[in-house]
Amino acid sequence: MKDYTPYIIVAILILGISALFIPRDLDDMTDDGRVKIRYWEKWTGFEKDAMEAIVDKYNASQDKVYVEFISTSQIDRKLLLATAGGNPPDIAGFWSHAMVSYAEKGVLYPLDSLMERDGLSRDDYVPSIINTCVYRDFVWGLPATPATVALHYNKDSFREAGLDPEKPPTTIEEFDRYARLMTKVGEDGNYTHMGFVPNDPGWWDQFWGVWFGAKLLSDDGKELLCNSPENVRAFEWYRSYVTNYDSEKVRFFSSAHRGQFASSSNSFMSGRVAMKQQGVWMANFIEKFGDGMDWAAAPFPSASYVTGGPATIVETDMLVIPRGSRHVEEAWDFIKFVQKQENIEELCLLQKKFSPRKEVSEGFYEKHPNPYIRMFRALAESPNAQAVPKTPVWIEYRDELGVAQERLWVTPPDKLSVKDALDRVKERMQPKLDLMNERWEAIGQQRLEEWSNL
C-alpha cells in the first residue's frame, strides 16, 4: 500500500500556516448585528481619551454602526502599508502636513460628493483650517482638532529683567532686544538662562519665514521659494542667535535641552528659556510640568515690515477615509457625527484646543481651560496664517530645509552663507518638484476625473 503519511503532514502544515494569514476581521459585523468599522488614531494620552469619549458617544447614539477605536503609532507608515496591502482601516486620524503626498498617491478618499449630499460645506469652517484639508480643490479629510502656534513667555523672567509682563514684544526687533535682556551668564562663563533659542524644540525651524513675510512655495505650486530674500532674512535672523551670542556656548545651551519636551527639564518649563514659540497644546504641558509657573501667550511678533495681521502656522489633525475601506458610508457617518458643532466642541474642549467651525457656541470659551484660547483662534483667522506648502515633495523639502538649518547653526558665517545654504536646497529640490509637475501634466486630467467619480 502506498504511504500517504508525508502528504498528510504537508497538507496539515500548510493548512496550519495559512490559517495564520486569514484576516481576523473578514467578519465585519458585531454580535448584535451592527457593521463594525475600524478607526486608527495617532493620539495617545489625554488626547486619545478625548476621542475615545466621542467614539463611545457615537456608538451609544445609534445601533447600526460600531466604531472600533485603535490608538496606533506611526500612523502615516502604517496607513500606507495597510492601504497597499488592501486592508486599510475605515477611518484614520491623519496629519494635514502629510495629506498632500498621500492624496496624490491615491491613499485617501475625496469627501466632496458625500459632503454635498449631506449638506456639509467648506464655508462651515474657518477658511485657513479647512484649507489645510484641501488639495487640488478636493477635500481629503475633515478637521478633528486644529492648532496654531504663538509666543509663550515666562512672566517672572520679564519681571526680573525689568520688563512689563503685560506687554509682550510686538516686533521682531523688540523681541530680540528682550531676549538679550533675559539672557544670563553664570560664574563659569556659560549661559544659565537665555531669552530665546530658535531651534528649541526645532519643530518649525523651516517655517520662520512666516514671520518675515516669506512663502516656501509659489502659488501655482511650480517653484520653490526657499531662497527668496524674505526667507534669507528669516534664516539670517535664526542664525543671529548663534552669531550674535557666544556661538559655542549657545550651541551647548541648546543641545542640553534637546529631546526634553514633555518633561520638567523642558527649557521653558524649567525657567531656563524665557520665550518660546509653541502650539495651543502647550498649556496642557505647562499645567503638568510647569510647577505653577506664571506664563502668558501672545502672537509671535513679525518683522516690522509685515502688514495685515499677526502670523502663525495652522495645522489640522484630520479624519480621513483611506481608499480601499470596505465601509465608506459608515465611516462617513461617524465623521459627520464628529463634525456636529456640539460634538466637535466637546472634543476640542477635552483636547483643550479651539473649534475649527466658524460658529462657536455660547459658553465655549468660558468653559475652556486655556485662558488664551481666543487668541489662538484669532490667529487662525488672521490673513497671515500659513499652512504647510501643498506639494507632493513637501516631506523631502522639509527635511532638506532642516539640514540647511542645522548646517547654518554649526558652521561659522565665513564658511557658509545663508544664501548659499538655501540655494543648495533649491538646487536639490527644484528638479524633484519639476518631475512631479511633469508627471501631473501627463496624468493630472485622468486623476481629477477619477477623483470626481469616486
Partner: protein, 293 residues
C-alpha cells in the same frame, strides 16, 4: 537510492516544507521583486512603471547617497576594529580564573539584552552635554565638556562609543571558542617556559582564529546596516553627519515614497556586503587555523 532512503527523503522534505514555503514566499519572492522594482518608478500604491537603469544613474549623482555611504564606512572603519578588540579583550579577561566569574560574565552580557531603543535613549543621557556621565568623567581629567550628539565632528565617534556597550554577543562566542582551546597546549608551552603573553599570542589567538573570523564577518554585515541606534539618538543629524546608508534607504522608501529608488539602494548595499565579505574571506583565510584540518 534504496526504498528506505527514498522514504526518509520524502519525510524529510515533508517536514521542512513549511520552511521552503516560507522561504520562497517571504524571502525569495520579495528579493526577486525588489530587484525588479529597483528598475522601476514605484511608490507602493501605484503600479510600478519600468524605468530601466534610471534609479541607479540618479543614485550616482545623488549627493546624499554619497554622504550616507561615507558616514557608513567611516563608522564601520572605527566601530568594527574597536568592537572586535573590546569583545576579545573582555572575553580573555572573563576566561581567567577569578572569583565571581559567573557574575562578571552576566554583567558584561546584560547590555546586549536591553532593547536597542531603550539603550539609545539611555546613551542620549550618558552622552548628554550638561549632566552626561561621559562628560563628567572627562571633566575629572580636565577635558571637555563635549557636545557629543550635537557637534557634527563628534556625533559619529559618540555613536561608535555607544556600540562598544553592546559587545555581549561576540564576547559569548569568543568565550565558547576560548573554552575549546586544548589545555594540553598551554601545559606544553608552560613546560617550555612560555610567558602569559606568549601563550596568548601563539596559542590562544591562532586557536580561536576561526571564531575571530566569524565575528568579523558578522560584525562587518552588522555595522554596514546600522540603523536603530542613530535613528533614535540623532535622527541622522546634525547636518546629516550621522545619516547612515540604511537610514537614507528607509527615508526614501517610507518617508518620500520612492520605493524603487530604495530597492536600488538595497541591492547596492547587498552587493557591497557580498564583495566585502568575500574579500575578508580571501584576505583572512591564511590567518585562520582550523583544528580539524
Amino acid at each position: 537510492m534504496t526504498g528506505e532512503e527514498k522514504r526518509a527523503l520524502k519525510y524529510g522534505m515533508a517536514f521542512i516544507s513549511p520552511w521552503i514555503v516560507g522561504f520562497a514566499s517571504f524571502l525569495l519572492l520579495p528579493m526577486v521583486l525588489s530587484l525588479y522594482y529597483s528598475f522601476c518608478d514605484y511608490s507602493v500604491l501605484n503600479p510600478p512603471a519600468f524605468l530601466g537603469g534610471q534609479n541607479y544613474q540618479e543614485l550616482v549623482h545623488d549627493e546624499v547617497f554619497w554622504v550616507s555611504l561615507y558616514n557608513t564606512f567611516y563608522f564601520a572603519l572605527f566601530a568594527l576594529p574597536l568592537g572586535t578588540l573590546t569583545a576579545l579583550f573582555l572575553a580573555l579577561l572573563l576566561n581567567s580564573n577569578i572569583r565571581f566569574l559567573g557574575f562578571f560574565r552576566t554583567v558584561f552580557f546584560l547590555p546586549s539584552l536591553v532593547p536597542l531603543v531603550a539603550l539609545a535613549i539611555l546613551w542620549q543621557d550618558i552622552l548628554h552635554t550638561e549632566y552626561g556621565i561621559v562628560n563628567e568623567l572627562l571633566g575629572v581629567i580636565g577635558l571637555g565638556p563635549f557636545d557629543w550628539l550635537g557637534d557634527p565632528a563628534l556625533a559619529k565617534p559618540g555613536l561608535v562609543l555607544t556600540t562598544m556597550w553592546i559587545v555581549g554577543n561576540p564576547v559569548v562566542i569568543y568565550l565558547a571558542g576560548l573554552q575549546d582551546v586544548p589545555r594540553a597546549l598551554y601545559e606544553a608551552a608552560r613546560i617550555d617556559g612560555a610567558t602569559k603573553m606568549q601563550e596568548t599570542a601563539y596559542i590562544t589567538l591562532p586557536m580561536i582564529s576561526p571564531v575571530i573570523y566569524f565575528n568579523l564577518i558578522m560584525g562587518c554585515i552588522g555595522v554596514l546596516q546600522i540603523f536603530a541606534l542613530p535613528y533614535v539618538m540623532t535622527g541622522g543629524g546634525p547636518a546629516r553627519s550621522t545619516l547612515f546608508y540604511s537610514m537614507y534607504l528607509f527615508d526614501q522608501a517610507f518617508a518620500y515614497l520612492n520605493m524603487g529608488y530604495a530597492c536600488a539602494m538595497a541591492w547596492i548595499l547587498f552587493g557591497m556586503i557580498a564583495v566585502l565579505t568575500y574579500s575578508a574571506h580571501l584576505l583572512t583565510n591564511r590567518f585562520v587555523v582550523y583544528g580539524g584540518s
